[in-house]
């Protein structure tokens, strides 16, 4: 039987998890759970995903896409502000789907996300194969999205899954998935707040848990607020320091890498340095000291911005902060001490952080996948739709049909009629959002009700039925009540792909499967080579290297250095055999050195020194 998995398709990192004997587990590849959500296109057309693509942010920034989740289901007008710091170009018709231009090709955000999903699918399949499973295919998945994602963003995520060759069992909300993973139903019944600050999005969900039912009372958030924004503030601070110089893509990427490291350091340390090594784009390099206090002053407005959605969600649930029994932190950005402090202050309690905030969402997604497949009924998620659904009426005013925070699935209906005699078609504009005017809401779709029997104006009674399914995705049906003639509806998604486009992309991805398989083997070879290079470089930097050199054979270090540089030279080669061979040579050359260093560590440890000191 083929496998089902849960996938957290993140802005910065993505993960895949599965359930074994009722217990969810993240699938790792050499201890690494995270697949960076980065896609890069090689000079020869090879698609790189994950760590390898992340490395190429520095070497080939204009061929590399990151944080594509921010563009899912959005239009060019929504993201113009983001474009300035991006190394890739974004385009597309106003009011249509975004086109990302890299390496002379154009991709839609779902296609880029599909590359990440395929990588996760592959990782899981390799894992099941290694477990000795006869049928290791992964063909079905639950994929998570921010709770505050609108219909277009959810649909784009589902399309990405389909393009990647996955049957998307369910789209579920990240905070809800996290609460499932925490198994809060077993320890508590009560009211839970899940605060989820990820790489690009912020969500707050308030849930009530009782008898194994996780009922979301309200949700709110900002789909454009997260770790990326913190990184951008730091990048801009550094760019301001290096006043005057232009800021090419390469420079921004080396700065981004340096400030992200500093940000991570400041979660533990009180101060750290931001260090950019000299390079052609920055000949003098860059260095500055930054304290946690300085960092907190810089990001304080961003953290404050999360508080308005939290208050709104509490208000919508009819609760006060003191009514919350448990608070749960999700998302890598909740490692920032200031964020933890603010959440603890608001709810007056220490939030849960027992589970890895990067992994908890994927674990919950795997649990949900297991529930769907097994029919287990101990737990049930009852989620809500984050935004009101409405239609544009006369004068451009929104008429709400399904209110925000309605439990899904939810349905609603609206009656339409004609304005002139013998009118046979009516235009309908579906929008999502809380604002009064349709132009201030998100346009979801426009469609035409056709085939209305010719009647005097105002006589036809056309019932349009809106159905939001358990994925939070909308479908529309209509009929004329006087004649019970069913109406044909051609829905044109405003910021999405048409059914035909998704089909075509799926076919293309099958056509490329063979080429992709070759490319995959090449990437595997490069990844293996990369890890051997990193391990070797680490050994060569070992502080005790001079001491152990005496134990090495004459010329041994030199042989290692030659093998290392040989391998580095063929890294960009397209013949994987060559890479394999040079990797093997380097591996062989370093075997003795590794043993010597290991023995020395053991001796040191026995002599009473702590291993971690070595």
């Amino acid at each position: 039987m083929s496998h089902v998995v849960g996938i957290d398709l993140g802005t910065t990192n993505s993960l895949v998890a599965y359930v074994k004997n009722g217990v969810p587990e993240v699938i790792r590849s050499s201890d690494d759970a995270l697949v960076p959500s980065v896609v890069s296109i090689g000079e020869d057309g090879t698609i790189f995903v994950g760590r390898e693509a992340q490395r190429r942010l520095l070497t080939a920034p204009s061929r590399t896409v990151y944080s594509v989740k921010r563009f899912m289901g959005r239009g060019i007008d929504d993201v113009r502000d983001d474009a300035s710091l991006l190394p890739f170009t974004i385009g597309g018709e106003p009011g249509g789907v975004i086109r990302i231009g890299i390496a002379g090709r154009e991709f839609t955000p779902p296609e880029i996300s599909a590359f990440v999903l395929k990588e996760l699918k592959h990782r899981a399949e390799e894992f099941f194969r290694a477990q000795g499973e006869f049928d290791f295919e992964v063909d079905r998945a639950v994929i998570t999205v921010p709770a505050y994602f609108n219909d277009a963003q959810r649909t784009a995520t589902r399309d990405a899954g389909r393009i990647a060759g996955l049957e998307v069992l369910r789209i579920i909300n990240e905070p809800t998935a996290a609460s499932l993973a925490y198994g809060l139903d077993k320890r508590n019944r009560g009211t839970i707040a899940v605060y989820d600050l990820g790489g690009g999005t912020f969500d707050i969900s308030i849930l009530k848990v009782e008898d194994g039912v996780f009922q979301v009372l309200s949700t709110n958030g900002d789909t454009h607020l997260g770790g990326d924004d913190i990184d951008n503030l730091l990048v801009q601070m550094v760019l301001a320091d290096i006043a005057g110089s232009a800021s090419p893509a390469e420079l921004i990427q080396v700065i981004r890498k340096a400030v992200i490291q500093a940000k991570l350091d400041l979660s533990d340390a009180d101060a750290t340095g931001i260090r950019v090594d000299p390079s052609p784009v920055l000949p003098n390099g860059y260095q500055r000291h930054i304290t946690r206090a300085e960092f907190e002053a810089l990001i304080h407005p961003l953290v404050e911005r999360t508080m308005a959605p939290v208050r709104q969600a509490l208000d919508d649930a009819g609760l006060e902060p003191g009514d919350i029994d448990e608070a749960v932190l999700v998302g890598g950005s909740t490692r920032i001490p200031l964020v933890r402090k603010k959440v603890a202050e608001l709810f007056g309690r220490t939030p849960h952080t027992e589970l890895n905030p990067d992994e908890v969402v994927a674990l919950g997604a795997a649990l949900q996948a297991d529930i769907l497949i097994s029919g287990r009924r101990e737990m049930l998620l009852l989620d809500v739709t984050p935004l009101s659904l409405g239609i544009e009426t006369m004068g451009g005013v929104t008429s709400k049909i399904i209110l925000r925070n309605s439990t899904i699935p939810a349905s609603g209906r609206e009656m339409f009629t004609t304005g002139v005699d013998n009118q046979t078609a009516v235009d309908v504009h579906v929008v999502q959002g809380e604002r009064e005017l349709a132009t201030d809401c998100r346009s979801l779709a426009r469609f035409k009700l056709r085939g209305i029997p010719p009647m005097p104006a105002g006589l036809p009674r056309i019932e349009v039925r809106f159905q939001i399914d358990a994925n939070g995705i909308l479908s529309v049906a209509a009929r004329e009540l006087r004649t019970t003639i069913e109406q044909t509806i051609e829905v044109k998604p405003s910021y999405g792909l048409t059914e035909g486009e998704v089909e075509r992309m799926l076919i293309e991805s099958f056509e490329h499967a063979e080429a992709d398989f070759e490319a995959r083997l090449l990437i595997d070879a490069r990844n293996e080579a990369e890890s051997v290079i990193l391990a070797t470089e680490k050994s060569l930097r070992h502080p005790d290297l001079d001491v152990v050199a005496a134990e090495l054979k004459p010329g041994e270090l030199e042989r290692i250095r030659v093998a290392l540089s040989d391998l580095k030279q063929v890294m960009t080669a397209t013949e994987r055999e060559v890479i394999h061979e040079k990797t093997h040579v380097l591996n062989h050359a370093t075997q003795h050195l590794a043993e010597v260093l290991m023995n020395r560590s053991v001796r040191e440890a026995l002599a009473g020194r702590n291993v971690t000191d070595i």
Binding site: T407, I489, G496
Partner: protein, 248 residues
């Protein structure tokens, strides 16, 4: 948006799986025990197994909602036939609508009026008419509001005007409390009228409907005051001259 659900047939109370007939308010087929299509369904009260009464226990309602959710939810029909999946989707949606409607006292009354064949208490023409019980307050409030707006435009200190608004709000707040009490009394009367004559029951429904129109009117008045408070607050902020801390 890509998978429009089939429009359901209006006239089929029978089971789509085994073809047997089933009572309108059964959730599962008595013959083959499969989930039934929504078809011709009863009202929200009967759907949840409740009597058609306005007083109900929130805890009991919630328990019924959870129990039925566990029976209908699409999560549990993933491997079922398309007909059952559609039935699960429709029945869950209906359950969610029913729970949301009955949870709040006012929407509960609105639903009762609808299923008892009363016109909706939202009619634009009626909504614009001042309910007789409010004539005096509305007249006083409108005068006061006109004056406050005039003074605001001619630059009178917003803080002082703010205090006047609070005073103007008081009688409306009192009316609102009075209204709540009367609405509750009517709800209790309805619940005790099971055996009463159709005329008496009809009279209670008429009175409930009057109350809802009055309620809409009071809420609109309060919203008008809130809007005025907001424009004053905006003025005070502008006066303080501080730039907003908004980073968006």
């Amino acid at each position: 948006m890509t998978d429009p659900i089939p429009v359901r047939a209006d006239s089929a109370p029978e089971c789509r799986t085994c073809g047997a007939g089933a009572p309108v308010d059964e959730h599962f087929c008595p013959n083959c025990s499969r989930i039934l299509a929504l078809g011709r369904h009863g009202d929200y009260f009967t759907f949840l197994g409740l009597p058609r009464k306005l007083t109900l226990s929130a805890a009991d309602l919630e328990r019924r909602f959870r129990e039925l959710s566990r029976k209908f939810h699409p999560d549990y029909f993933y491997n079922a036939s398309p007909a059952e999946r559609l039935a699960s989707l429709e029945r869950s949606s209906y359950l969610n609508d029913a729970y949301r409607t009955l949870r709040h006292p006012v929407s509960r009354i609105e639903h009762l009026l609808a299923i008892e064949g009363m016109p909706a208490a939202k009619s634009e023409t009626e909504g614009a008419k001042v309910p007789p019980s409010l004539l005096e307050e509305v007249f006083a409030l409108n005068e006061e509001l006109d004056e406050i707006r005039e003074q605001r435009e001619s630059g009178v200190d917003p803080t002082a005007l703010h205090a006047r608004l609070e005073v103007a709000r008081d009688p409306i707040d009192r009316k609102r409390e009075e209204h709540e009490t009367r609405l509750n009394e009517l709800a209790t009367r309805w619940d005790s009228q099971e055996q009463a004559s159709p005329q008496d029951r009809r009279a209670t429904l008429e009175a409930l409907r009057e109350r809802l129109l009055e309620r809409n009117y009071i809420n609109n008045l309060l919203a008008t005051i809130d809007r005025e408070v907001e424009s004053l607050s905006a003025l005070r902020l502008a006066d303080a001259g501080s730039g907003s801390g908004d980073v968006q």
